[in-house]
Amino acid sequence: MTEKLFTRPEGLKDIPTHYCPGCHHGIIHRLVAEVIDELDVRKQTIAVVPVGCSVLAYDYFNMDSQEAAHGRAPAVATGIKRVHPDKVVFTYQGDGDIAAIGCAEIVHAAARGEKITTIFVNNAIYGMTGGQMAPTSLVGQVTATSPYGRQQPLAGTPIRLSEMLATLDGAKFIARVSVNGPKNMANARAAIKKAFQVQLRGEGFAMVEVLSTCPTNWGKTALEAGQWLEEHMVPQFPLGTYKNVQE
């Protein structure tokens, strides 16, 4: 008698993704799908996917989805959730999408206490457009639009979105996690689950920021990228729970 210990979650379609080798999007998709399976809400979930590397996520998540304009996912999710308050609505957004062009939308969705869940994938760079500077790029980080490194006097310093949003009363759960290594993955999965549970309990806004690699645009191997995340991103973006209000 054999037992199946590992399988594709029902929350993911059986389609190979377009993500680069060593990119964390695949892992993060899987963790979201696993949580949705575990909470048994796939059939009542509507995903809102962004413009960025995960623009095609509606092809991968096995659930109803809407493709939002760049940065507008929290507004689109607001529209959906207000029509279907009994359904589960989440946004999946990258750093350029959420912390640059869509900064107003995420701040106000959180301020309203919109009962949605946001998965924010922070890889400190614009991936899809070919590696330009993001609002979360590190000072000194070389990108296609910061060829001499991000210059603090001209381009400022990275936005710590989790810390920012944690100041808002409408935000009930905010955590920053990473998925490099099994332990961090387990922590990330637990945080994502909590962020959906906050929505299911109707408490308010919840977000999980996931630090992620972009080996292609960082110009590193998958292994080097994991090390760079650990050594450079984590000190700038400390992991942890920034808000956890249980009503």
């Binding site: 509507i46 095609l56 809407q66």
Partner: protein, 357 residues
Amino acid sequence: MSEKLLMKGNEAIGEAAVVAGCRHYFGYPITPQSELIEYMAKRLPKLDGGVFVQAESEVAAINMVYGAAGAGARVMTSSSSPGMSLKQEGISYIAGAELPCVIVNVQRGGPGLGGIQPAQSDYFQATKGGGHGDYHCVVLAPNSVQEMADLTGLGFDLADQYRTPVILLADGALGQMMEPVIFKERTSKPVAKPWATTGVGERAQTNIINSLFLKPEELEKHNEHLQAKYATITEKEIRWEGSMLEDAELVLVAYGITSRIAYSAMEMARAEGMKVGLFRPITLWPFPEKALHTVLSKASAALAVELSTGQMVEDVRLASNGVVPVHFYGRSGGMIMTPNQILDQIRKIFQAKGGKQ
């Protein structure tokens, strides 16, 4: 619900939306449409399932509309000219993803921050697409408070029937003025929306709301599909109204509030013996091109009158296609012409022609 009420145009749109079954409104305050957002703020929370959200911007509001429309709701937003500019990105996505909604523009003068007085200078933006890409919105132009109510109801029906955004193009004068209005019984039935994202439930396929087609062959096909839909709308949904056109030598062409000023000018010209008629487009897109061409073919000249420096006049010239000379008279910036000023233009045209006075 057939009693006669005295209402501001902006409020009449709000009530008409409610009567049409709209329970979701997302907007941002801007003069001169604020009575509408305020009406919805007061009205919707009192209704079963009514949702009012004051968004952080027009950009957010139109994207909330995208989400709600994609989720299957009858949904509306409203704004005025500068705010409509902000909404254009979202309207392009809504057109691309084929989502039904009603968008109200209570126009004011521009460009830029412009002013807060009535204007018709967003005609190009409304009728020619407005955002990026090959698309059109259905554009309805009321000229009374009653028509603001009637066309709001029609707008929701057309939006659902064709899965397309509908713009109600009003102006600050119509929005602010009070007139009697009757909210008529609705006869149309709700349209099923099997494509909406409601959660996959027991459906065999997941529903996806999207305007992305990375393969050029597919995007071209999608564009051809949109154009085929626009052709059907052009064939079936054109609306216009004519006054004294049977023997008209000069045809005034005016929409919205301007059509009422032009109507007065027409009556004054008739009293002076000049054969003047009025052609009033009610759908600005699709523009009643063939109907106007037929009318102009029997006339000697056309005069387009607008609260702009000359926008609709281009469609009048296209409709004329050289069959008659097309003159233009407009005022802008919130200045409104008097019937006498139009009458002066009419006299000039008749004098230049040597036409009878």
